[in-house]
Amino acid sequence: MSLFADVVRWFLDPAHYQGSTGVPTRVVEHLLMSGAALAAAALIALPVAVVLGHYRKGGAVAINVSNIGRAIPSFAILVLAVQLVGIGVRPAFLALLALGIPPILTNTYIGLAEVSPELREAARGLGMTGRQVLWRVELPLAAPLIMAGIRTSAVQVVATATLAAEVAWGGLGRFIIDGFSQQDNVQIFAGALLVAAVATLTERGLGMVQTAVTPAGMRSSKKGAGLQGSLGSRSGVKAA
């Protein structure tokens, strides 16, 4: 089919790899923006959730924040952010930050709060202080779920960063949005492939990190892996 030939030609054209609108620049923009927003979201959500989860307080809030997050369209958050801070890079960052927080908050809270009381008591019985219980028992056991939350956030942030092209920011969404206005199906398709690749690699990459942070004794047998594997997160958000 000629579309595919044209798309291959698009990817082979050196002109698409140069300057501030080239593929490398857009990929870097996309990853930097997503990474920064995700890091900021984790900096806000992790301490709050760790404290709440350790003391098992505020569970309703920590869990419902994801349900509410799911009900608010990310596109609406993006456009709302424009009303608050104007178009460009700032609303993109603000919206991505807001979207990144709920999955990390909910998963981290559940991960810590669901550590079995017997284990905590056993740790206490061994003479551990509250802080030691947190660092040596609760956090290692919660690590896979925390990482699943970060992974869900990352996938969502990368996806919404694509939409941010609509509010005059760069990133890989530019190829799609510009392709729409130029009615250039080849550019639309090429841009979509790039976005899909970045999102998939992000999800797979963080999936490997999730496996790596899982304590050896907790790694599930291959049997149930299919159900846990992709997006084994308790918050299950898909909003962009």
Binding site: P73, F75, V79, L163, A199, L231, G236, A240
Partner: protein, 227 residues
């Protein structure tokens, strides 16, 4: 415009101009109805596709990995990219929107149906067989009803998620309430944006609560257990 006057313009523009709302009730209603139709179609078709896929994944371990892997891969592709991949073939049509929306319901629905069916206790299954149930009777009379809470939970998540994603289809010429949000951005008119966003969130909450009530109604035996 000086910075000061720009700022005062921002301050003076209210979040909602009620006069606009009252003058455009028909347009708002139409957008809401379109939003509901796009959502119901997506979740309905999603269920029709997910049910056989889930049964296959549940019955045959060989198919479980590929089916969950494939629906999981679809799920991770950002919606704008998935719509964009479909446009060269299906154009800017409702078909592009629906194929994309349906794709995203599949992982949620398949996973929940499989989890629900997996959770049926083996002794219950054995009792059904002992009572002379055929494989089909066992599925329809015992296993599916017991899996219903998990399946309904999947339908709820899929519905709420789809209501949010429908707004993105405004960028490809559909959108329901998302079109109001997009117009709010393009016209720099807050009222449209706020009306679109608030009604979309309202729809999501309404759908979630209605489906929760439906779930209670169709699973009377599960009422005493924690939801």
């Amino acid at each position: 415009m000086t910075p000061v006057s720009a700022l005062s313009a921002v301050i003076e523009e209210p979040w909602v101009r009620w006069s606009w709302v009252t003058q455009h009730t028909t347009a708002i209603w139409d957008a809401t109805v379109e939003h509901v139709i796009l959502t119901v179609l997506a979740v309905g078709i999603g269920l029709l596709i997910a049910a056989p896929l889930a049964l296959l994944a549940w019955r045959s371990p060989r198919w479980r990995e590929p089916i969950l892997g494939f629906t999981g891969t679809l799920y991770v592709i950002p919606s704008l990219a998935l719509f964009a991949l479909l446009i060269p073939f299906l154009g800017l049509t409702i078909l592009t929107a629906e194929v994309g929306l349906v794709s995203y319901t599949l992982l949620i629905l398949v996973r929940n149906i499989v989890v629900g069916l997996d959770s049926v206790p083996p002794d219950v299954r054995e009792a059904a067989r002992g009572m002379g149930f055929s494989r089909t009777e066992q599925l329809l009379g015992v296993e599916l009803p017991l899996a219903l809470p998990a399946i309904m939970a999947g339908v709820r998540i899929a519905t709420v998620t789809t209501i949010g994603l429908v707004t993105v289809t405004a960028l490809i010429g559909e959108g329901g309430l998302g079109r109001l949000i997009l117009q709010g951005l393009i016209d720099d008119f807050r009222t449209k944006l706020v009306v679109g966003a608030v009604l979309s969130v309202g729809l999501a909450i309404l759908a979630d609560v209605s489906l929760a009530l439906l779930q209670r109604a169709v699973t009377p035996w599960a009422r005493n257990r924690a939801a």
